[in-house]
């Protein structure tokens, strides 16, 4: 099997699953088809990863696709989280259906769109064309807009509308940036599709006109930064992530933010090559630190459990953006690891938060009590998840935050107090909120229910293992990616 076939299978599987699920609709076995579709995509992703691991970066489909150490780990991560989310959503969505929050049409729509969303994200990661990158990013937004409003409550519709409009405006700025990028590239590479291929662009980035690329980066930063949820462009994020169904919150927080950051970093590499200064990095550092601080203090004020964890996502994306902006081998390694760890931890936390709010029939944290006694897996899942998220050892986020902090102290000591302040406030705020939810007696309105054990346990185990020991292949990929992003 050659490379192009492998990529087509990887991208074709979610589309095929989406079509099948659109026809199957609300039948009993739809969740199982959803799981198998995701699992098949995951296996295809692993196969591709082995290929890349053995033979290095590859171009496929007439240079249309490009796989290297940077995007392959994100592609595997995306397909992996899609499997666990599908597993989680089987029971969760069935229960939401019983509670009457979603109808028959809603379920059909939910499953088909979930698969299309996975497709859009994989296309975004694997394409070599900066234009297609933009298109698939917009597609990823469009597939999830109506999932956010799936419950049709006034707040859900409001959240989805905000998401649609703000991300639409944001992403339009990114298109303008892409046009400017093409304008600069055309002078060097000549007209046509080849001038938008990332592999060509990175080869000639030294010859691209610096003034144009600096201008382009401002637009790209605002555009993709909106999708990463960076302050002050983050307004849509807490609403969209808290009002949608929990499986969607998990993939939005865990995956889509990563993809947007990936796009931004790809563009940054080109701008750096052209300007030969730290200009793009400085912009990213400012946005990053601002996001960390604003999000950390916002976590303190939250009453809704999913909303609180959405702000925590902004904080963590801020950390990764800051680290990519800082640059250098240690910080970049830390940022890559941080994206992986945050994604796994945050989706696990959303799974447990989803269970917790289903048990109490509310997302208000004041009403969620006694999880340790009522449902130990949910209680401990939440507690350990928050420990990991706050950056306690031995979990993986400790490793990545430690690396980023070390690099900051070495290379940009003036930023250190801000970074530390943000981390400390977020730490305290998360524990203050979670402590009462897990301890105490079981309230009488808490309903015990069957939960999906596997997703949470799997995610937390991986986060723990990587915290103790980074496997060789991952280490090698990250090192290659660091070289690439220098």
């Amino acid at each position: 099997m050659n490379n192009s076939d492998m990529l087509l299978i990887l991208l074709g599987l979610p589309v095929a699953s989406a079509v099948v699920l659109a026809f199957v609709g609300d039948r009993k076995f739809a969740p199982e088809i959803n799981i198998s579709g995701s699992a098949a995509t995951f296996i295809a992703g692993i196969a591709l990863a082995i290929e890349v691991y053995m033979h290095g970066p590859m171009l496929a489909g007439g240079k249309f696709f490009f796989v290297d150490a940077f995007n392959i780990y994100l592609a595997v991560l995306t397909s992996f989280v899609s499997v666990t989310t599908a597993l989680f959503s089987r029971r969760y969505m069935r229960r939401e259906r019983e509670h009457g929050r979603v109808g028959q049409v809603g379920m059909r729509f939910y499953h088909a769109m979930f698969q299309l969303f996975i497709f859009a994200m994989l296309l975004c990661l694997l394409t070599n064309n900066v234009g297609i990158l933009w298109i698939s990013m917009e597609l990823a937004t469009l597939t999830t807009v109506l999932l956010v409003s799936l419950y049709r409550t006034p707040t859900a519709i409001e959240a989805a509308w905000k998401y649609f409009i703000l991300c639409g405006v944001g992403i339009a700025q990114a298109l303008f940036g892409t046009v400017l990028l093409y304008f600069a590239a055309e002078k060097v590479l000549g007209e046509g599709g080849d001038a938008l291929l990332w592999t060509n662009l990175s080869r000639v980035s030294g010859q691209l006109e610096p003034t144009i690329l600096s201008l382009a980066f401002v637009f790209l930063m605002v555009g993709y930064g909106t999708k990463v949820g960076l302050v002050p462009l983050h307004n849509w994020l807490p609403d969209a992530h808290s009002e949608g169904p929990t499986p969607i919150s998990a993939v939005l927080s865990g995956l889509l933010l990563n993809i947007a950051l990936y796009a931004l970093v790809r563009c940054k590499v080109l701008v750096d090559g052209s300007t030969q200064t730290h200009y793009a990095g400085d912009i990213m550092m400012v946005f990053g630190i601002l996001s960390i601080l604003v999000a950390a203090f916002s976590i303190l004020r939250q009453k809704d459990i999913k909303r609180m964890f959405s702000y925590s996502s902004i904080e963590h994306m801020g950390i990764a953006t800051f680290a990519f902006g800082l640059g250098g081998p240690i910080a970049t390694f830390g940022a890559l690891l941080h994206m992986l760890m945050h994604s796994l931890t945050k989706s696990a936390i959303f799974f447990t938060a989803g269970h917790a709010s289903q048990m109490h029939r509310t997302q208000e944290m004041d009403k969620i009590r006694g999880l340790f006694k009522g449902k130990p897996l949910v209680g401990w899942g939440l507690m350990l998840g928050v420990m990991a998220l706050a950056g306690l050892p031995p979990f993986g986020i400790f490793t990545s935050e430690f690396l980023i902090l070390t690099a900051t102290i070495q290379e940009a000591p003036l930023w250190t107090p801000f970074l530390l302040l943000g981390l400390a406030v977020a730490f305290a705020a998360l524990f203050r909120a979670v402590q009462p939810m897990v301890s105490g007696d079981v309230p009488d309105y808490q309903k015990p229910l069957k939960v999906a054990h596997l997703p949470v346990i799997l995610h937390m185990t991986i986060v723990l293992i990587i915290g103790l020991y980074i496997p060789d292949f991952l280490n090698q990929w990250f090192k290659t990616a660091v070289e690439l992003l220098k």
Binding site: N129, I132, I135, W161, F164, V169, F183, E191, G193
Partner: protein, 226 residues
């Protein structure tokens, strides 16, 4: 070719001026049907401009973009909006947050801002369409302004689409259009977005009894607190 470059540049500048006029007219328009007509006109000028540039610069893929614009932005999208407004009994006048004269003044400010912002690009460009780049960016900005200053969901969407017009115009004037595969992809995204906002209008109007987005203020931070 029988048209000199100078004449060609004059023709494209003239059409660009028409696009800018429609932008400002949209800012000043108080009736929702008028707004849709203006949007269709803007699309028509864009399609015309794309075709002219395609003809003079001998870029055949621009004809496809031009036809696409004509079909999508002159006929299909205005038609969808028309039908939705009829079906949902939307209020026929445009409600603004900032009054018209102020909006117009901000619009003029945006044009000057765009002029300065695009200066480096204009200097480097050798294309005959380089002078229209300022107007293209101004169209994007005015679209954005329209989205911010309008309260009705339909007018916000028209602002959004006008902004997309501006982006398309930018691509034509800065680089004679993006590669065809990208243009097609963008058109597809706009089409999907059109269906989504169509569905949205139904949801919003059934849930909130009107399309005034000012009513959508439940998710404010302050309210969450107290």
């Amino acid at each position: 070719m029988d048209i000199s470059l100078e004449t060609a540049a004059r023709i494209t500048s003239f059409i660009a001026a028409l696009v800018l006029i429609t932008s400002f007219a949209m800012l000043a328009q108080k009736r929702i049907y008028g707004l849709i007509h203006l949007f269709a006109w803007q699309g028509l000028f864009l399609a015309l401009n794309t075709a002219v540039v395609g003809y003079i610069a001998d870029k055949h893929h621009l004809f496809i973009s031009s036809l696409l614009t004509l079909g999508l932005k002159v006929f299909l999208l205005p038609y969808i909006l028309y039908v939705l407004i009829k079906r949902l009994n939307i209020r026929k006048d445009v409600e603004t947050i900032v009054n018209m004269p102020t909006t117009m003044l901000i619009g003029i400010g945006l044009v000057i801002f765009s002029y300065h912002l695009t200066a480096p690009v204009r200097e480097l460009s050798t294309l005959m369409t380089r002078s229209t780049l300022t107007i293209a960016l101004a169209t994007v900005m005015i679209g954005l302004l329209m989205m911010i200053t309008r309260r009705n969901a339909v007018t916000q969407i028209i602002g959004f689409l006008a902004m997309e017009n501006g982006l398309f115009f930018t691509a034509t004037s800065a680089t004679y259009g993006m590669p065809l595969v990208v243009e097609l992809g963008v058109a597809l995204d706009v089409l999907i977005a059109a269906f989504i906002f169509g569905i949205f209008f139904f949801h919003i109007s059934t849930t909130f009894d009107s399309l005034d987005v000012g009513q959508m203020a439940r998710l404010k931070e302050d309210e969450m607190n107290e």
